[in-house]
Every structure is written in structure tokens, then in C-alpha cells.
């Protein structure tokens, strides 16, 4: 950015492995940039002040609330959204696990849950239920009662370990 305070800026960032540029107002969040400027509407906005977790994405590999990151702060950084995890024909193991366990109803919270789960499994490939609950504790779900999500992540971890061996 220039040495003058700017109300808007062009931001270069890497999203799901591709170099992208967005022109945004400084007040716009990374979630806004992903959804409105890049059309990646898998990242959901629930509360827009950091409480619900539905906007969680990976920033340089770590989980973050994309509603609590300014798009201009993402300049030069690497972002992974739910669209970057797997494709309909080639789901990520955690997506598979959640599908098998019926880990969603309306699906609104699902992208944030998946990203939080992937972040957990990158650090710990065999979490117990308490560790899974802890990792998902910042993600609210209005529908499922959470049991099926925990089961889905547990199954996802299993599939991921099998993948690793195969």
C-alpha cells in the first residue's frame, strides 16, 4: 500500500492456489472480497462480528474468521476456502466423512465446520472427540445438535489417515 491512507485499494492474494486481484474499499472484509468480488460464495456470513464461525477460511494455513480480516490485510497472503478443499467428484476426506455421517441439515455452518476440521487435522491427524469438540467450539450450528458433525470429522480423520497410508 502507498504511504497515504487509502479508502480503497487493489489487493493481490492467492486464493485456492490461484493468484487473484480484487479492488475493494478498505472497510471490506476478506469474506466480502471472496464472496462479492471473486464469486466464492461457499464462505458464509452469519454474524459478521466473529461469533458464529461460518466464515472461517485458512489464511497461510491457519484458521481465521474472514469477517475479521480486512481484504487489504490479505495482500500477499494465501487463502483457502471451502471451494479449495475438494471438488464434487473428488471430495476432501473430511467432506466425505461429513457426507457419510449426515453432518449437516441446512448446510449454512458447514463450510466453516469443514475448514475448522481441516485446520485441526493438519495439526493432529488422530483427534479424540474432546479435541474435535474443542476445535469446532467456535462454530455455531443451528440444526444438527453437533453429534453428527463430530462423527463426520472423526470419520474424515480416519479417511485422511487411510489416504496417507495408500
Amino acid at each position: 500500500m502507498s504511504a497515504e491512507p487509502r479508502l480503497e485499494a487493489t489487493v493481490s492474494l492467492r486464493v485456492n492456489g490461484e493468484d487473484r486481484q480484487v479492488h475493494v474499499e478498505a472497510r471490506r472484509s476478506l469474506a466480502d472480497a471472496l464472496r462479492d468480488a471473486l464469486g466464492l460464495t461457499g464462505t458464509h456470513l452469519g454474524c459478521e462480528h466473529g461469533v458464529c464461525g461460518s466464515c472461517t477460511v485458512l489464511l497461510d494455513g491457519g484458521p481465521v474468521r474472514s469477517c475479521l480480516v480486512l481484504a487489504v490485510q490479505a495482500e500477499g497472503h494465501d487463502v483457502v476456502t471451502v471451494e479449495g478443499l475438494g471438488t464434487p467428484d473428488d471430495l476432501h476426506p473430511v467432506q466425505h466423512g461429513c457426507l457419510e455421517a449426515h453432518a449437516f441439515q441446512c448446510g449454512f455452518c458447514t463450510p466453516g465446520m469443514l475448514i475448522s476440521a481441516v485446520a485441526l487435522l493438519a495439526e493432529n491427524d488422530d483427534p479424540d472427540d474432546a479435541e474435535i469438540r474443542e476445535a469446532l467450539g467456535g462454530n455455531l450450528c443451528r440444526c444438527t445438535g453437533y453429534e453428527s458433525i463430530v462423527a463426520g470429522v472423526r470419520r474424515g480423520a480416519e479417511l485422511l489417515r487411510l489416504d496417507g497410508e495408500g
Binding site: M1, E4, G50, P63, G138
Partner: protein, 291 residues
């Protein structure tokens, strides 16, 4: 809701951060992790004209041991406190407390400097900074000044920072031999702000008697609270359960917590007393006291 409009500046040096703040006048704000500031803006509880980002300033995210001090850059994240080997070795209470701050996605971005500057009386790190006798290095137009943590917090969300000052680093004395720390809090759900919390530091002399005793509380007033009388009452005594329980109860009785939706003042005081006794016992055990 979306934030009101503001301009954004990301200087490359700390002096340029200070200059940017000074030029923008009173309604400029530093942004670090944004984990407290951006919710404030989204809820439209604040309307700064300029945000000055410290992200590009080199050297603010380092952790070093210099002499007998651990020096942490203002931009060190909560996630780093959880994991860093130097923190685990020399300031283990920070590593123990960090996982209590919000959720993993908050800790990825939230910073030590941001937590201190935000000065939420329910936040963990301000209370721990007071407990461990930290010094906060602050850069302003006239250079750097050092503020002891116990003089840094002046009221609810208010510190001694001038609008054109920025937190540069936090220095903690490395924990010595025969010294133990502990922290505990009660919150409605893990990851929520605590209703009340207590931290203790106990140092023992060669005979196993209390040489040093400090207590700090969060969620128990308009700032984090460091209790200086607790130590005076305990020094020279054996750190047994009766003594530590008495010290903890007396400290809790001196608190002036608030009533709110979540808990009454008397409930907070009672919980503070119970937590104080518990953390004092743990700290004494960690300092090497026979239990």
C-alpha cells in the same frame, strides 16, 4: 453489519506508524489482529477515520530471551504463545493461558499487543502481564518509553497509551527457580470471555516458606486487578492450604466486581475467592512446596 468507511495505511516502520497516527489525529486507530477492533466497527461502536496497520513493520513478531527477560513483540499472536518453545521454557503461564482466549480462529490473528492495548478487564493477558510484573514498551513521537503493566491499565478499555503511541514489545522477567505460576477461570462456555478469573505467583525461600506471593484477577473490576496486600499477608509463612485459603478469601473480599446479565457481584466475589485458593495451591506446588 458492515464497518463504516475508513482509510487504511500500512507503514513499513514503527516511526511511520507513529507519524501516520499523529497526522490522522485523534480518530486514528492502530489495527493488529483486528479481533477486537473489527467487531467494534462492525457493530458500529466506533468510527475511526484511519486504521494504521502494524502488520508490515518488521521485528514485531519475534520472541527472544535477553538476559533474564523474555521479550515478546507486540504482534506475537495468541497461537504463537501456545506453541513457542521459549514461551514454554521461560514464561509458561502465557502458554497455559493462551488456549483460554476465544477459539482457534481468533487466536491465529489476535495479538499480545492488541490484547493489552484493548484492555478488556475480562481478558486473560492483561491480568497475566500484571501478575508476572511485565513491562510494556511503547513507541511515540518522542521515542520509546517503558510502562510497568501495573501502571498501564487505567479503566474499562482504557490505558495510558496516547492516540499517537503504539505498543512495541512486552518484557517479562523469566520465571526464576522456586517460583510457580497458575491460572484458572470460570466461563459459561469454553472460549467465551470468563466471568471471573484468577492468577497466582508463589515464590518460596530455601526453607520452603513464602518469599513472594502475587494474585491477579480478571472480570473483577473495570481493569485487571493486581492485589498487593495478598503478598504482605503471606510472606514468611508456610504455604499450607489454610494460609493460602485465607489469603485468597481476603483478596476476594477486597475486590469490587460488577453485576451484569451473566453474574452478580457477590457471585463473582465468591468464585474469585475459590479460584484464588485453587491457583495459589497450584502455584505453591509448582514452586516446589510439599503438598
Amino acid at each position: 453489519m458492515k464497518s463504516p468507511p475508513f482509510a487504511y495505511l500500512a507503514p513499513e516502520t514503527l516511526d511511520d506508524v507513529v507519524r501516520g497516527l499523529a497526522e490522522a489525529g485523534e480518530d486514528a486507530k492502530v489495527i493488529a489482529g483486528g479481533q477486537s477492533l473489527l467487531p467494534v466497527l462492525a457493530l458500529r461502536l466506533g468510527r475511526p477515520s484511519v486504521l494504521v496497520d502494524v502488520a508490515r513493520v518488521p521485528g514485531l513478531d519475534t520472541i527472544d530471551v535477553v538476559g533474564d527477560e523474555v521479550v515478546l513483540g507486540a504482534r506475537v499472536t495468541h497461537a504463537t504463545l501456545e506453541r513457542h518453545p521459549l514461551v514454554a521454557a521461560h514464561a509458561p503461564l502465557l502458554a497455559e493461558v493462551a488456549p483460554l482466549i476465544g477459539h482457534a480462529a481468533i487466536r491465529t490473528r489476535g495479538t499480545l499487543g492488541g490484547s493489552l492495548a484493548h484492555a478488556d478487564p475480562a481478558a486473560e493477558l492483561p491480568a497475566v502481564a500484571m501478575l508476572t510484573d511485565a513491562t510494556i514498551d511503547v513507541r511515540g513521537p518522542d521515542g520509546t518509553r517503558s510502562v510497568p503493566a501495573r501502571d498501564f491499565f487505567v479503566g474499562y478499555l482504557t490505558t495510558v497509551l496516547a492516540p499517537d503511541e503504539v505498543v512495541e514489545a512486552v518484557r517479562l522477567p523469566a520465571r526464576g527457580a522456586r517460583v510457580g505460576d497458575a491460572f484458572a477461570e470460570v466461563s459459561r462456555r469454553h472460549g467465551d470471555f470468563a466471568l471471573v478469573g484468577a492468577g497466582a505467583r508463589v515464590g518460596l525461600d530455601e526453607d520452603g516458606r513464602v518469599a513472594e506471593l502475587r494474585l491477579a484477577f480478571l472480570g473483577a473490576g473495570s481493569t485487571p486487578v493486581l492485589d498487593v496486600e495478598a503478598g504482605a499477608a503471606a510472606v514468611g509463612r508456610a504455604p499450607d492450604a489454610a494460609v493460602l485459603g485465607e489469603v485468597g478469601r481476603a483478596a476476594a473480599a477486597r475486590l469490587d466486581p460488577h453485576d451484569d446479565l451473566h453474574a452478580s457481584a457477590s457471585y463473582r466475589r465468591r468464585v474469585a475467592g475459590a479460584l484464588a485458593a485453587r491457583v495459589l495451591a497450584t502455584a505453591a506446588r509448582r514452586a516446589g512446596a510439599a503438598s
